[in-house]
């Protein structure tokens, strides 16, 4: 599992590459939290174009970051989910709190 970052104005883009499960979740969580602490972004976008697997442990990671960002008045979006991941996102009700976009450009514009 790899995590990389990109900043665009006040938005932090978090690229997830690999498989996000309970095993990789602590590494992913720590990487993201360090970056948020360092860059203090308003909004965050999860770029999932290279995420090949995610289960409900991954949903826990996303909700955790969402709570922090939302409590500071920021917004969270997700882009480029593969079908399996989109289904987990829908089943777990993430859809109601975090919008999904087809690509980064629309996400940054519409967030």
């Amino acid at each position: 599992m790899q995590v990389s970052f990109e900043t665009c104005n006040n938005t932090l883009i978090i690229k997830l590459n690999g498989e996000l499960d309970h095993h990789s979740s602590s590494y992913v969580r720590d990487s993201i939290d360090d970056e948020i602490l360092a860059k203090n972004p308003k909004n965050i976008i999860f770029d999932m174009s290279r995420l090949n697997f995610m289960d409900s442990s991954g949903i826990g990671v996303i909700i955790g970051r969402y709570k922090f960002i939302a409590s500071n008045g920021g917004k969270v979006g997700i882009v480029s989910m593969k079908p399996q991941i989109k289904r987990i996102y829908e089943i777990c009700g993430l859809k109601r709190i975090i919008p999904s976009f087809d690509n980064k450009k629309t996400a940054i514009e519409k967030l």
Binding site: D21, H22, D55, S56, G60, I63, P83, I91
Partner: protein, 142 residues
Amino acid sequence: MKIDNEMKLEFLSKSQNESFARSVVAAFAAQLDPTIEEISEIKTAVSEAVTNAIIHGYEYEQGYVTIVCRIIDNTVEVEITDKGKGIEDIEKARQPLYTSRPELERSGMGFTVMETFMDHVSIISELGKGTTVIMKKSFKRD
């Protein structure tokens, strides 16, 4: 009911074995020629149950997780067992959003995911003895 094929996998309750375990079940189920979507459904359901065994069953202590997998006609049956702590209230545990470990950022959606992705999910558990999750999925082919 004739068992067409069967395997049993036992492994240490280490989190790095979560991805190993779901790949093994997927490789075994491959003999039923599932679609890519069906394979990722099984992988996800197995990942949920194995993660629960490691986190909730053994609470990160070392133990063995066992997976029994059977192919009967066009159905795959997966039984995932831990000899850990057990579940006090199974009905409550199955509820969406319920988690006993919110401090670990668990979403409480594990059982809901298993139930959505598999045709059948049943849970046998005894406090102090352990838990078995039995899941079934049929592949209907015309």
